[in-house]
């Protein structure tokens, strides 16, 4: 089994806010991330697929194909966007765009496409919010 990872970057803004809570609780739990004017990051998206190398090509997946999938399914929707205001998964009342939820949302966008291609399996999605902070999702319930 080979694990193959492709990395890409996107830049986006967000804030953390739970509408079910009063403002004071949002500020207490989320700190500076609760600022409703938002703030931004240069995110790094790492997508790992797993499988056996194809006996003819030697590829687990065609990296150009994986790059295009990441671009089409994730980056085109998220790059240079305000996640709370412009991305469906993170609209008010839906998921708070924490790094954890961003990793899960990226997985949910990529999983059907990788699965339907019929080759390698999606193994892991890791999202770096800064070089020191990351979250990952492996499809576990």
């Amino acid at each position: 089994m080979i694990f193959l990872t492709r990395r890409a970057t996107f830049s986006a803004s967000h804030y953390y806010w739970n509408d079910a809570w009063p403002a004071e609780k949002n500020e207490q739990v989320f700190g500076r991330c609760a600022n409703r004017n938002g703030h931004g990051h240069n995110y790094t998206l790492e997508v790992t697929v797993e499988g056996e190398p194809d006996p003819v090509t030697g590829f687990v997946v065609d990296l150009k194909w994986l790059k295009d999938v990441m671009e089409r399914e994730v980056l085109s929707a998220w790059d240079h966007r305000h996640l709370n205001l412009e991305v469906a998964e993170f609209a008010a009342g839906k998921l708070i765009p924490t790094t954890e939820n961003i990793a899960i949302a990226a997985w949910n966008r990529l999983k059907p496409v990788v699965t339907s291609a019929g080759g390698a399996r999606l193994s892991r999605v890791r999202v770096y919010e800064t070089p020191e902070i990351f979250a990952e999702y492996r499809g576990e319930l």
Partner: protein, 135 residues
């Protein structure tokens, strides 16, 4: 929905790899430059990976402020700008980075429940690192 949250910290410390179980010559042969009697130091990068259910109210596996506080009070305050050989944990244990990663895992285990400590990774330099999963 189980996800993982990771965070990287830096601590600077000195150490000397040496064991009284070996002769001076054997220590030099085993540990090479790391056996220098005066010790030497590193900027260690400590990566902590927490795993658990994403809280539906916060969207978080673990609150980063709580994680930072646990790592600061249990690990950074203890080891940063110290000589590892003088720490009680390393009196009878060589402060290799393998043993440092195990010590940090033990110090942090259970510190930010309900999230679980999944992995401690310690990078001694850019080119070598050690991981402990508590096994």
């Amino acid at each position: 929905m189980k996800a993982y949250f990771g965070r990287r910290y830096v601590l600077s410390a000195s150490h000397r790899l040496h064991t009284d179980a070996l002769t001076a010559e054997q220590n030099r042969a085993t540990y090479g430059k790391c056996n220098n009697p005066h010790g030497h130091g590193h900027n260690y990068v400590v990566e902590v990976l927490a795993g658990g259910a994403v809280d539906p109210e916060t969207g978080m596996v673990v609150n980063m402020a709580a994680l930072d506080e646990a790592v600061r009070s249990r690990v950074l305050d203890r080891f940063d700008h110290t000589n590892l050989n003088l720490d009680p944990l390393f009196v009878n244990r060589v402060p290799t980075t393998e043993n440092l990663s195990k010590a940090i895992f033990t110090l942090l285990d259970g510190a930010f429940a309900p999230a679980k400590l999944e992995l401690v990774r310690v990078e001694e330099t850019e080119n070598n690192f050690f991981e402990c999963t508590g096994d």
